[in-house]
Point group: C4
Chain length 233, copies 4
């Protein structure tokens, strides 16, 4: 596959559109992605949340209202919030985890932040927690991560201890992102994946890439073990 740098033109940047039109366009785009992730089992049981930046100064994010079934998302499922996760417009309230979206958007200038809870991210973030992260290397699919040009790449996917104190956790996330600006995502232990992108589509691609690679890492580990004790395939 080609490097992720041959990316789509950012369809979400609409010259001359009003903030309200931008909100609706971004929310609709995120809603479609969320329904697709729900179908794949990555955001079951109202888990997961998705955001995109409407403006930088002042910071305004479109973000999923909390507690919704992701299989039925539409533009009205989103609210507009500021950089303290306060509602600016829309019905509902942001997830407590909205502070993590703000931290990522602010530190990295991300255009979109996606958070999923898949089986594999939950399992691997538990199994590798003691090592502090998951090292993924040698796979062609790594090139789907923005800026990666070759499969001869080592991606570090850090695992942060989970917490219910989002202020404390957002401080840890901010510190992590300042120290390791080359990251494309991180895991919360036995919780799920955070990844992001310059555009909504880039962030969606990063979710798919990481979910794919985590399944590969887990299955390769099991297969390697079976193969090492068998003769023939």
């Amino acid at each position: 596959m080609d490097s992720g740098s041959q990316k789509l033109a950012p369809a979400t940047v609409i010259a001359g559109s009003t903030a309200s039109e931008k909100f609706t366009a971004l929310a609709s785009e995120l809603a479609a992605i969320g329904r697709g992730f729900y179908a794949r089992g990555w955001v079951l049981g109202t888990s997961g949340n998705f955001s995109a930046a409407i403006s930088r100064e002042p910071m305004r994010l479109a973000i999923t209202s909390t507690g919704l079934d992701k299989g039925t998302l539409n533009a009205a499922s989103f609210i507009e919030m500021d950089d303290a996760a306060r509602v600016v417009s829309g019905r509902g309230k942001p997830s407590a985890e909205a502070l993590l979206h703000v931290a990522i958007a602010r530190e990295l200038g991300a255009g979109a932040v996606l958070h999923t809870h898949s089986v594999w991210s939950t399992v691997l973030s538990g199994a590798h927690a003691a090592r502090g992260g998951l090292e993924i290397r040698g796979y062609e699919m790594l090139k789907g991560l923005e800026g990666v040009r070759t499969h001869e790449h080592t991606e570090w996917l850090p695992i942060l201890e989970n917490s219910q104190d989002m202020t404390e956790l957002s401080v840890r996330v901010t510190k992590l992102l300042r120290d390791r600006r080359e990251l494309h995502g991180f895991l919360l232990r036995e919780h799920g994946l955070y990844t992001w992108g310059a555009t909504v589509q880039e962030a969606k691609r990063h979710v798919e890439i990481f979910e794919f690679l985590m399944e590969v890492v887990a299955r390769a580990s099991a297969l390697q073990r079976a193969e090492s004790t068998e003769t023939g395939g």
Copy 2:
């Protein structure tokens, strides 16, 4: 994710609606959920049944008629029954397991009861039967269970011996629910999952949470074993 307590307004309580309108609304909502579960492979081969409370005094439940393909459910697939599982209206007859729905609705005041037969619930309810249940702890997804506020929670999912005598089994279920009112579901050994909620949507969320967590528990067990004998991932 946010605690399950930030739940949707109960869409199924329609002020001023007649019992018949309530029946149709609840049956349509359950039918859509059932078709979704069928697509995920959780109610293959006419397995599974779903109910929701239309009224409490007297108790009336909308419940799937027995023996139907869950991939083609619609409101006409449901019957109305009383607290002895006798048909009040509608064509067809309730499942023998309807007595378990009545027991759960009566003991816990559940607004909806969902029963699924997934691969993982079948496998885990066999593998853990000797321990009497499955202990699930530490996962963020536990917060999708009503009233759970933190991942630092231990959920006990009891496993009851399977039986074809539904009167006898409903007595055991009633006793279990009186002793352990904090439960969110239980497994029947090598049979499947029962869970419930105040509303149809809450019960649906509980199915998704438990199905997710059971897959995680099973895969984490297998991965842990592979990892413990390998170097690197």
Copy 3:
């Protein structure tokens, strides 16, 4: 779940319909089932074939024409054939395996015969070939097999050696069915599943039940092993 004996009224028996109308109704019903199986990955790559009896005297079966993509089946994908697998009407030709459909329809009076190639049936029919079959017992889902009333049932799913000589293989199938009239299906080694029913819907249910149970048997075997060497779950 309820026993499979609480089955649907056979929707495919239409009083007063002409043979042509019956053909079209059965072919349409089988086509919809085939598209669903394709979506689940049970008949990839033009594998699988499906038939239903239009009449007994003389025997006429609607059966999939050979070599078709099962994701795009419709009534025109079927041909009508006689008990020697000769085309009576329709475009295309029957699969060489049509003789097995005839053998099953003749020996058991089956109204429909469905043949699928799933990953699990392929894997298990190889792993258990030396034992001559797969024993499945204790699962509630067994009640989805016609006539089974309790989970305390042992189902024998024989495994026949695969062959390209369909005349020879149909003789072996005929002998098997005469000796073991209680069977609900059989496997061809590293090839797939044959199952049947009085109606198309009953045969569909049997496919789902067997596919479910085979996945359960395979995963339970792997999990049992992991659990037996771990402490805790």
Copy 4:
């Protein structure tokens, strides 16, 4: 199943159609296939690319433009290119891997070339790399590969070392295809599958057959190990 030789009439050869009509027909056919592969998780994150021959002299291929989300492919997602992978018409640019498509179309006269990145092809191409390929034998599904008449067939699926130098890699691919004209596909290590066919539908069938067989090989290996240490199933 029947041998792959009972294939569909090549729907993509439209007598009297213009090159432009052929391009559109082939691109639409490939787009539908690509969306289906995306749904199955075989081309996540903009991975994969698909081509079909419009003409031989001069060689013109319709091929996916690089960097696209395969879940939203349509005919406009394709470009027309020549045998040096230069754009002849259409918007976008071909993948760097377009040279491999050219090599396959030129050496084997393939009418279509499909490249996918599935979990199983990634895992197996890593696990078996040291042996130079994957040997698959004894499965009925092998008959879905063009020209294979019996399950008693041994298919060799070579594994080539991955590379970012497409000129160098296309030389290796050309050499491989000249030496082993009986091949139906090959793997790039920890990257994915290349397969092809006389028609688009035949190439699609080959993808499904190989993806199925790779999953079977991987799961059979794991199951065989579990079974060999257990008593009973």
